[in-house]
Amino acid sequence: MRIEAKGIAIAFDGKPILAGIDLALRPGELVGLIGANGAGKTTLLRILADLLPPAAGTVLYDGKPARTLGRRTLARRLAFLAQGGSVQWQMRAEAVVALGRLPHRRPFADLTEADRTAISDAFAAADASAFRERSLDTLSGGERMRVLLARALAVEAEMLLADEPLVGLDPRHQLEAMALFKRIAANGTGGVVVLHDLSLAGRFCDRLVLLDDGRILADGPPAAVLDDGNLARAFGIAVARGDRNGEQFVLPWQALTNEEASR
């Protein structure tokens, strides 16, 4: 599914959060959404997921507004993984992941064979099968995040929007999660991932969108977006750069003073 956002603007309590955002998301592409705290990443992701109506601008899904597409259709085609991953009740992991099948199921109907397969596949993909029978409150933060990731994968949507899905994951599972996002994007599922880890963003994403104070500062291939000027302006940092087997990577190295950042 293609998502096109045009002229998106929104303000909370008179403070502009996003302004003049134009963004197109395509199938088969993993987009990393990066930016400093408060740059508007979560707000933009919620607007793209039709969870928040923008004050100005339009979001089209395959050329149609969400209203003509229908709530349920959109729910089947677009999966959203919320930030933080709070689960109110102490449900078993399997019941949580099964929630991802709700858009596909008739109300009160039992899980179909297709639902069960999707749930098992999602558990396997998120490397969470081991705690399938466990209650969520007995899992660590990272394990819970993997279950919630499996929940989003179980939707089997054409577009996956994930807000900071790496929070709480250990390095191995961060790498595996990014590889998973890249793999499902390569299989045709589009994806937008809000990230704070610039190294992972640069290595795994096909494209990066850098938000700075509610506007898109840069949008393009990681190497172009992660240039010194952009990073100094958006984050106020200098990075160390490296190369491993021909693959470039950046490592946040130093916080810059205001004068250094504006230079």
Binding site: R46, A49, L51, R71, R72, L74, A75, R76, L78, A79, F80, A82, S86, V87, Q88, W89, Q90, M91, R92, E94, A95, V96, A98, L99, G100, L102, P103, R105, P107, F108, D110, L111, R116, T117, S120, F123, A124, S129, R132, E133, S135, L148, R151, V155
Partner: protein, 341 residues
């Protein structure tokens, strides 16, 4: 992995329906027990025989005029309170929510007290419950007006707090200005909740309202499951939260409003029952609804039967007994919450 887990989820569903059937059967047993227990000795089968044969004998009258309404209302009111409590806890994602949290119960109580106070109560038998129902409906209109379209859960709770305190204040005002101490006493006793001296007319009055309310609440089953992961996730799963709130508030108002209107305020059932039963349904808020309804019916029938068996006259008020059972439970819950955090 899946080969192991698939039978588990299937058997989980089986055990859920087994639990529902078990609780439904227990409700019937408690209702039968409630019929059998009373102040006069009653040969239940003889009474039933007389009634079915159309003989208006004394046992038949005791059964139909006294015992039957009491048992049926106990089941209906208990079911409404348990179901609405589970629904409110699911909607607000808070284990301490109860059916009255959005102000419906206190508004219904205030409606009934107004009828008491104005003297209409004596005018015709149904004035009191009708006043209560009017109060509940007024509260719902106010809730929707205060919340408007698309307002969040927080606004809903705040509006509920406002309605609760206003209705509570107005009820106190009515007591304050009561024409004589007996009127005030009558109001206070009514507020404590009771199933005594209700008739089948009360049953017919509230039954249709409750059935519509239950249907509205039960229709929220999948959406409440989706809400487990937060409002954004629920909406991304295709649920319209505004419509969900309308159904839940409307359903709770019909079910609980009419319950309070015929029996007075009966606390703790809607809070305690969902808590007790939640572990039995794997903490799934959707599955908790039906189960909590039956649990509420069982608890209320048990409490009402118990107070008639106790050698205390005049009989204890039902709301007092449920609170006596509920309060210690709440203390233990606080202890558990403190250990968890």
């Amino acid at each position: 992995m899946s080969a192991v887990a698939v039978p588990t989820s299937a058997s989980e569903r089986m055990s859920y329906w087994r639990l529902v059937v078990l609780l439904a059967a227990a409700t019937l047993v408690m209702a039968a027990l409630s019929l059998a227990v009373g102040y006069a000795r009653l040969d239940l089968f003889a009474a039933l025989g007389d009634w079915l044969a159309g003989r208006r004998s004394l046992p038949a009258l005791v059964l139909v005029e006294l015992r039957l309404p009491r048992a049926i209302l106990g089941a209906l009111v208990g079911f409404s309170l348990g179901l609405a409590g589970a629904a409110m806890q699911g909607l607000l994602r808070n284990p301490l929510a109860e059916p009255g949290i959005v102000g419906i119960s206190s508004a219904a109580a205030f409606g009934a007290v107004t009828v008491f106070y104005s003297g209409f109560a004596g005018a015709f038998a149904l004035a009191l419950p009708l006043g209560g129902i009017a109060g509940a409906l007024l509260a719902v209109l106010l809730l929707f007006a205060l919340n408007g379209r698309g307002a969040g859960t927080m606004t809903l709770i705040l509006a509920g707090v406002a309605i609760n305190s206003f209705a509570g204040a107005m009820t106190s005002l009515a007591l304050n200005l009561a024409p004589n101490p007996y009127a005030a006493l009558e109001i206070v006793f009514w507020l404590m909740g009771s199933l005594a001296d209700r008739s089948l007319i009360h049953v017919w009055l509230v039954l249709p309202l409750m059935l519509v309310g239950w249907a509205l609440l039960l229709s929220c089953t999948p959406a409440l499951d989706g809400l487990t992961l937060g409002e954004d996730t629920a909406r991304s799963l295709g649920f319209d939260l505004t419509w969900l709130r309308v159904r839940l508030i409307g359903g709770a108002a019909l079910a609980v409003g009419s319950a309070v209107a015929v029996t007075g305020a009966i606390g703790f059932v809607g809070l305690v029952v969902p808590h007790l039963l939640r572990p039995l349904v794997g903490h799934r808020p959707g599955r908790l609804l039906l189960v909590s309804g039956f649990g509420g019916a069982i608890l209320l029938l048990a409490a009402d039967t118990m107070l008639r068996l106790m050698p205390i006259r005049p009989e204890l008020k039902l709301g007092v007994v449920t609170a006596l059972i509920g309060a210690p439970f709440l203390f233990s819950l606080i202890q558990r919450l403190r250990r968890e955090t």
